[in-house]
């Protein structure tokens, strides 16, 4: 799926652009989320094989010849866990944002000079 691969890279670049140019902390987190989704689409599209079915060996797959009829299960397995981890990491970042806002009453990254050099 060359389209999915291109779409994944497009999302990755859009997300990075958002993360680098936006000033609002929540928008930066949204940019991270878009990068996350783009990476997942890239990984899944790498495992695609033309004309094959999902790696679930029910009635649609002949068991004696299963390895010739299914797409690659490894990228799907990697993405499955990555989605949940991405969710938890996004929650962690948002709670950092909540804490920063409670302390300084600002969501703009320009108001946080502590780590600037």
């Amino acid at each position: 799926m060359i389209f999915a691969l291109i779409l994944g890279f497009l999302l990755l670049v859009i997300g990075l652009y958002g993360m680098l140019t936006q000033k609002n902390l929540i928008k930066i987190v949204i940019g991270f989320s878009i990068v996350d989704t783009g990476t997942h689409i890239i990984i899944v599209s790498i495992g695609y094989l033309r004309g094959k079915t999902a790696p679930i060996l029910d009635g649609a797959v002949d068991l004696a010849n299963a390895a010739k009829q299914v797409v690659d299960p490894i990228p799907s397995a990697l993405v499955l866990t990555a989605i949940v981890i991405g969710l938890a990491v996004t929650a962690l970042m948002l709670s950092f944002v909540i804490k920063l806002y409670q302390k300084n009453k600002s969501l703009s990254i320009d108001d946080y000079q502590e780590l600037k050099w």
Binding site: M1, I2, L5, I6, F9, V13, L16, Y17, L20, T21, I46, Y48, L49, R50, A54, P55, I56, L57, D58, L63, A66, A67, K68, V70, D72, P73, I74, S76, A77, L80, T81, I83, V84, I85, L87, A88, V89, A91, L92, L94, S95, F96, I98, K99
Partner: protein
Amino acid sequence: MIKKIFVSLALLGLVLMFLPFVRDFDFHNELSDLSSQYVVGSINDLNTQNVVTSVIVTYRGLDTLGEVTVLFLATAGVGFLLRKKKASLKPRRSSELLQTASQFLFVLIILTGVYIFTHGHLTPGGGFQGGVLITTAFLLLILADVNLKFNHSILHLVESFSGAFYVMIGLFGLLLIGMNSFLDPAILPLGKFGYLLSAGAIPIIYSLVGLKVGSELTTIIDKMGGE
């Protein structure tokens, strides 16, 4: 403005670096040796219908244990940051429709989540998906009533019990089968291919993962709902 131009130039460089990868990427027509080994082993050694599950729970079981640990660390971070619960809020009351629907749907969503993680070795789904679905049920409850208080000791108990039991099942593999069998599902009878009670310890491990993910994400939602 000048910053945006620099960022665009840097991203253009990134695109140029990735371009050969996309342009010259040749899609395979066959599975790689490792993947076909996984598919064949899933039928012959593990009796698992869903190959993705057998990769996650058994072949890459140690990775999954690591992922669950990362999830736990993220939850611990959220809990540490949002420690102090605010005094009860005075939000706008949620609509009658949402309140009634949440009571009606809560049980159904929990049931679907449990179905998804107990059937993870047969159909698409598994512990991670089922756990997230269970969390959405609790999210619905919080949306209907923001000041809802969960029983934290039960949440923590479920979380730590499932985590500890997951590691213990792994250690049972070492104990009962021998070296190199950490998280081997063959400690239980493998059963008949395609049935609910098959695939050895895989349904049990995936159910524990589901409970752990569900309780951890519920803790996160509860902490964030309080802010």
